[in-house]
Point group: C2
């Protein structure tokens, strides 16, 4: 899932995201709550309508951004109080408040409010944090079930032509031969879906316990949070593997905030269905391009006269038209088109990577992809 923090995947217009085959994008609750505000978005028909995006939207719970961006945060049983990084005003996120905001935004997939345990964390601290995330999951679910039909598109669509449908037309979503069953299973919605989040720090037994107790609450999908926070990649994989043993295979399984192209292929091969990461978009704005030949830093002088496309094996609109020399010129000249073109290419590379993974899954053979066939 490309990340569209404030109702926009930075620098890329929605028609290009559609062309790239993005089936779902992520919005950040923290950012949208602060600006333009969830009540405004609800009033204007929800985030789908506000940003003109008919395909699926997932919003995070807001918890992670509060931890990483806001000032003077205080975590209590009730929730998290914090000051806005924009203007210093005071706010309180609780599980109920997070649900209220996400429902107002009109996401198709809403995430339970969790505490992203800091890293490193002692075992007892990780357990305490995990226990609170479980209590918050229960409170999230209770509020969500009571209010999910207040979602703006539920109102709107039911009043008009029926239920909201994801990926309803062959025209709007290019056929994906290997599209995960996950996608088909949520093609018709009468209300948003709430996913639970597994925490537990870097302790496999806590992770398993968190997964078991979250599954007991019976969510339509499960996320693994609190990873990619500074631990080794081997540790990330261990935690994912431990949790995947518990999470039901017939429900979407989502690892939050990962990762490099080779990582997402590996996790998909392990059984992960969904991932999100700012890496392709953020790296693009810093001139880092992902290619079939590895990463390249486009500002490097070696590309000044390089007439090849960013990635000779890529068929995206950027690689079809522009040279590395031109992309380098745009970047070193701080031209706004640099961010646009670099982001479009990186998203194409990521989405192509996942298309290859889905195709390999259909064929029942991921060996070629895992040995580096894609990235």
């Amino acid at each position: 899932m490309p990340v569209g923090t404030a109702g926009t995947v930075k620098a890329v217009s929605q028609d290009i995201l559609e062309d790239l085959g993005a089936q779902i994008i992520l919005g950040n609750t923290y950012h949208l709550y602060l600006r333009p505000g969830h009540e405004l978005v609800r009033k204007l028909g929800g985030l789908h309508k506000f940003m003109s995006w008919e395909r699926a939207l997932l919003t995070d719970s807001g918890g992670f951004q509060v931890f990483s961006l806001s000032e003077l945060r205080k975590v209590k049983e009730e929730g998290v109080s914090f000051r806005s990084h924009l203007d210093g005003t005071s706010h309180l996120f609780t599980p109920e408040r997070s649900m209220e905001i996400q429902i107002a935004l009109g996401a198709d997939i809403v995430m339970a409010f969790d505490e992203c345990t800091e890293h490193p964390a002692e075992r007892e601290r990780a357990r305490t944090s995990m226990e609170m995330t479980l209590r918050w999951a229960k409170r999230s679910k209770d509020y969500f079930e009571a209010h999910k039909h207040e979602c703006p598109w539920t109102d709107r669509e039911i009043g008009k032509s029926g239920d909201r449908v994801i990926g309803k037309t062959e025209e709007s979503v290019p056929a994906q031969p290997g599209a995960a069953a996950v996608h088909d299973s949520i093609t018709k919605l009468t209300a948003p879906a709430l996913f639970g989040i597994v925490q537990g720090g870097m302790y496999a037994d806590l992770r398993r316990e968190s997964a078991e107790r979250t599954v007991e609450m019976d969510f339509p999908g499960y996320a693994i949070g609190g990873l990619s926070v500074g631990e080794s990649r081997a540790k990330t994989m261990d935690m994912i593997a431990a949790v995947l043993e518990i999470l039901p295979k017939d429900k979407p399984r989502y690892v939050m905030g990962v990762g490099y192209p080779e990582e997402i292929v590996q996790y998909a091969a392990m059984g992960v269905d969904m991932m999100d990461c700012v890496l392709p978009t953020r790296a693009a704005r810093h001139g880092l391009l992902f290619t079939s030949e590895g990463r390249i830093n486009i500002k490097n002088a070696r590309y000044a006269q390089d007439q090849r496309p960013a990635d000779p094996k890529c068929a995206c609109r950027v690689c079809a038209r522009y040279t590395r020399a031109y992309l380098r010129h745009l970047f070193v000249s701080a031209e706004p088109l640099a961010g646009v073109l670099n982001t479009v290419h990186n998203l194409a590379f990521y989405l192509d990577t996942m298309r290859s993974v889905r195709h390999a899954i259909t064929l029942g053979d991921l060996s070629g992809i895992l040995s580096g066939g894609v990235s």
Copy 2:
């Protein structure tokens, strides 16, 4: 002509410019000379190839940017010495050097090297400056005629499939019912064209003399420079009117660096064939949108919940998809997509305005357009 300063119309990709129906864009010699450098551009096949733009390109002489951007400039008979605004390095632009650079860039239309007389200027100063521009025009022409076939696309195309052709296909350039004859007259090129530039400050008689003596040198097109430098709009019109009496009607007549939508309609009605201005693109990046109902500042709080498109009468891809509320949110959030979408709309408005002008010319009736039918 949209302005593409450094080989890019800021924030807009070339495929969108094509969709908008831009037939010709302008590149700035001063910027391209400093970065990436004209020799690099020549080596990579010229600016057309470098930026992947098959339609027409015009480059300015570099003189105006030296006056407005560089430091420590000194004007002598030989030319202008200056320091780069990027790194302080010393450079010298002469008429010959300007031609060499523009030929290396491979522009379809090359501009003679002129001195943009400062405003206000005493009569004697304006005459002295005008006389030097005339001597520089002669030197520009002499160098240009001797070297024009060194243009990269001349080499390339002649070596391959023949002459460079502007607007050769109906597919690549949407049919313009009212397209100026000017366009047809330069549809097949074997070398670039050099335009002369009329100066003379704000003195009608000097302007006329400059025009007469420039026309005597016999250029395939003529520009009126040194306007829109702080004088009243009435004065601008007086100067244009004086010069248009002299310039041949069967050659392109180009007013440099103008203007607001209502201005360009007025000048076109007076007989001007070409104009360029950074206004639509620069204003867009500052949140100023041109619409059929006047200018709007999209950051204004009144648009926070405005679900109308930027311009309800506009059919551009931005107005077809996004609301003012969304555009305002992008702008106040400093999202890069704000610059992209605002620029696309403003360019659409300008290009639509000129399409309406051409249509009115075909019908032989500009009265509706001059009374505000467009802007």
